[in-house]
């Protein structure tokens, strides 16, 4: 086990890094006994290149954790640097180029009052929590927020009329999410909510803003969904996939050779933990976690909390969506 006086400079360096992460941005979520407990589920080997524990430790030292403060900062950025400038741009496009700046401001404010921010999914899920922080951080009034089901007025459906929007004065709907992986879930949502909305109110604009988005997923949504705008605060290009050929984790020549053995290790355990998605939902291969939850696009070895045939203790637990 890696908890003796045995001196291994690589382990020492990784342990030191994890200590710094633990006491700073990881919000004290993984102290060394936790790490050792997690590592003990992997095989130890004298040959460092075959040592699963060392592979897992190295991966863990790269884990990107976003605590409450970081999430709040990203939500400020989403409003201040992404959405608000977009509205200003759209307002200015509709005006003469000579329009004075002091006229644009009030128009943007008026447009913002006709905007609704919408959580994706169930009110008990993370998106609703994000909207709570989003409102606080950007000092926005409560009435600008909706749940998806409140977009529509269903009172006339099934009697004499069809689907209507609840408030016809609204011109913009902004959908906020924590992570866009493959984009399939957001696309499904777009089919269920955004398409019907556009069919009855073609002038409204819809925006999908995840805090993080994998490039492929973002591109998929831009081409296959009904959202008018799709834009992540932080775009994760394919190098953020742990075992991509150009993964940023294995750039250094000294450790490049560890990529394939580490992938094999993660796949081996992942196949037992989440057989359909051994490297994360739809092969996400991410190593990212948030204060409120760890997304299933991350490697299951980090988050899986299994009590069944293959018991597993996670290091950054995921709180799953329980079905009754």
């Amino acid at each position: 086990m890696r908890n003796g006086p045995h001196h291994d400079p690589i382990t020492d360096e990784l342990q030191s890094k994890i200590k710094t992460l633990h006491s700073s941005i990881w919000e004290r979520r993984a102290d060394w006994p936790d790490v050792l407990d997690w590592l003990s589920q992997f095989e130890e080997h004298d040959d460092p290149s075959a040592d699963e524990q060392l592979q897992a430790l190295r991966l863990l030292s790269s884990f990107m954790y976003f605590g409450v403060n970081e999430i709040r900062a990203l939500l400020r950025s989403l409003y201040r640097d992404t959405f608000r400038p977009q509205v200003a741009k759209e307002v200015r496009t509709g005006l003469l180029p000579s329009t004075a700046l002091d006229l644009v401001g009030p128009l943007v404010e008026a447009e913002l009052r006709r905007t609704r921010f919408v959580s994706l999914g169930n009110p008990s899920e993370s998106s609703a929590l994000l909207l709570y922080y989003f409102r606080q951080e950007n000092a926005l009034p409560k009435n600008l927020f909706l749940h998806g089901s409140d977009i529509f007025d269903l009172s006339a459906v099934g009697s004499h009329g069809g689907l209507k929007v609840q408030n016809p004065d609204i011109t913009r709907y902004v959908f906020i999410d924590d992570l866009c992986g493959s984009g399939h879930q957001a696309r499904e949502y777009s089919e269920r909510v955004v398409k019907p909305l556009k069919s009855i109110s073609s002038d409204v604009k819809t925006y999908y803003y995840p805090l993080f988005g994998l490039s492929d997923g973002i591109e998929h949504l831009r081409t296959h969904s009904a959202f008018d705008e799709v834009y992540p605060v932080v775009e994760l290009d394919p190098t953020f996939r742990a075992f991509a050929a150009d993964s940023r984790l294995y750039v250094e020549p000294k450790i490049a050779t560890l990529r394939l053995p580490t992938e094999a290790t993660c796949r081996r355990y992942g196949s037992e933990l989440v057989p359909a998605h051994p490297l994360g939902w739809e092969d996400g291969q991410l190593y990212i976690g948030f204060a409120h939850n760890t997304p299933d696009n991350s490697l299951p070895i980090f988050w899986c909390d299994h009590t069944g045939s293959r018991p597993w203790r996670p290091i950054f637990r995921r709180y799953p969506k329980v079905s009754w």
């Binding site: 006086p5 001196h7 291994d8 633990h22 060394w32």
Partner: protein, 692 residues
Amino acid sequence: MSGMTPSNPFSLTKANDLSDDQIQELWVDIAPADSPDSLFSAGRFASPMPTFILGSKGSGKTHLMRYASFALQKKRFEKHRLGPLAGARADGYVGIYTLCSGLETGRFQGKGQSEEAWLEVFSYYLELSLGIAALAVIDDLLVEDIQNSIELRICTAVSRLFDFDPPSAKDIGSLIDELERRRRELDYQVNNAAFTGELAPNITASRGRLIFGIPQAFQNCSSDLGGFLFAYQLDELENLTEAQQKHVNTLVRDRRGPATLKIGARQFGIKTHATMSAGEENIRDSEFEELRLDLRFRRNEKTYRDLVALLVERRLQNFWPQSSTGLAGRSRRLSDWFEEPKRDPFDPFFVRLVKGVPSPQRPHMARLRDALADQLSRGGVRGVRNDQDIQAIMSAVAVPDAPLLEKLNTLLIFNAWAKGLDLAQTAASVRADCEAFVSTKGAGRYRQKLDHYKSDLIAQMFRDGTFRYNYGGLDEFTRMSEGQPRALITLLKQTFDWATFQGERPFEAGSISLDAESKGALAAADWFYNNMRKAGGEGQAILIAIDRLAELFRINRFADNPIECSLIGFSVSARVGSETSQRNLRLALDHSFLVEILGGQSERNSEQVTGKFQLNRMLVPKWGLATGRRGIKPLSEAEMNAIFDPRMGEAFEKVKADWASRMNAPFDRARRASKDMATRDVGESQDDLFGD
């Protein structure tokens, strides 16, 4: 305390970061304040003789000076139900604390103005600043009943101190306002001089008139107001330029009336003792006294040990109430919370260190056997002519149950080899000595060698077994801190962090593991070392020199036959070395990377006085070196230059090769080297292990 609940009781390391309450609560002394042995008395705050309080970074200067300041005195007066005047009389002084860095002295130069003009402006600025501070203290000293009767008299007397435009204030508050207005006006002129090209200050008081005049004016107002000094406490004097320090020195020299100066500075921050009084220099013990804090601690280890124990206890009481330690009701000694490194040669730990394998398979035995076999193919060595001879030696030195003694035995064989002695005879003698020691555990030459070389031998065994070398124990940490309390706090801070990260409960349950202590010591060493990177080109030169020195000490520590035991020190003649290397040696001392060993020695075979220096022990974990210094290696001029001149990389490689060759089998260059470059060094350094 102050509503703070830090996650580490040692997280605050700088006195500047502490509140007044924290300064008061965390203050510890080695004797009662009124005892002449106390630190507080050593500051001589109530003595009219000016004092320089010197020490390296973290030696406790600021804590001492702030503790002695009026803000803290007032708290103590309240505690003892004393009025401010009665308290001041009881203490014999009031402390007027000012940080020189707060004056932003860098502003008083350049901008197209002459140096003389800036010096006048700085002098007036200091006059106003200290005058305001003194008046603020006076305002606090005057309780209501006497304030009304004498306030106007004080204001009138103070206004007479001005050469021009005397303030017309009728109360002290207004007088302070007026002086602050004049200072703001000066600030405005100084700050804008670069743009206006002008500096036309309205200097209304001469040098020293306010600083010395205000206390005198105050005490002249009534006989009730005398009986104590106004002690101006200027901290961080190193932040002043040489010319500005000269001005302060002049104040020291011209001190008069019921006022004095207590000046805090880094040991090497005093740029001059010259004054503006006809070029006269201030002389220690004539114009001023000197208190050297860390030197005082290093001279008296027992005092320092007692002090740091108190300091740690106080921290725990204030910041870690969950600790079951504390002077009252504690059942454990403070040092018991720290796991100590194993040093007893019969401890089973050493069998585990060699992984329990039989003697012939142990790395140190293999090293000796292979070296002898190698030499056999090249003609042999005295007393070793064939494999049977080697086998006989190996059997003689083997100690299956005590690998540390076995390791010592191999070193003794290597030592005899380096000296050209007969190894068969040596092996027999070593065996006899070892057996006698095992049976009696008594003192004698074998025991002496063990004690001398134990640290190096254990370090080699750790390295052979790829184990991390251990640093730990409160005594070792105290020794490593070199008389600087902040260094000890930093060591404990890092250790505490590591211990809690590893799931331990320091000062609550169990002991702090050696593993956490060693990692803490290494982290503290890294912190100390990396701070120097910020010091620019000078810092770089120091780091290169220290790296080189440490590299040589490592060669010695891990050698077959170290020339000195626990080597972290060296001596060098004051006249030796190029200008660059002497300068870098001084810089390394200024920045406390090197520490002067007290009592410079004469060379063993000459009358020449040399300086003795050692690596700051805070740094040694970085290279796995010893914390208990024993040997001191005299450096030749060539070695001195190769280490301390960054451009001498090639020469340094040669020195390294020379050291390695002299200290490791087959010791080919041991004698040749002595002719080449450090004739005296080798002859002296090859310790005669049995030549009592």
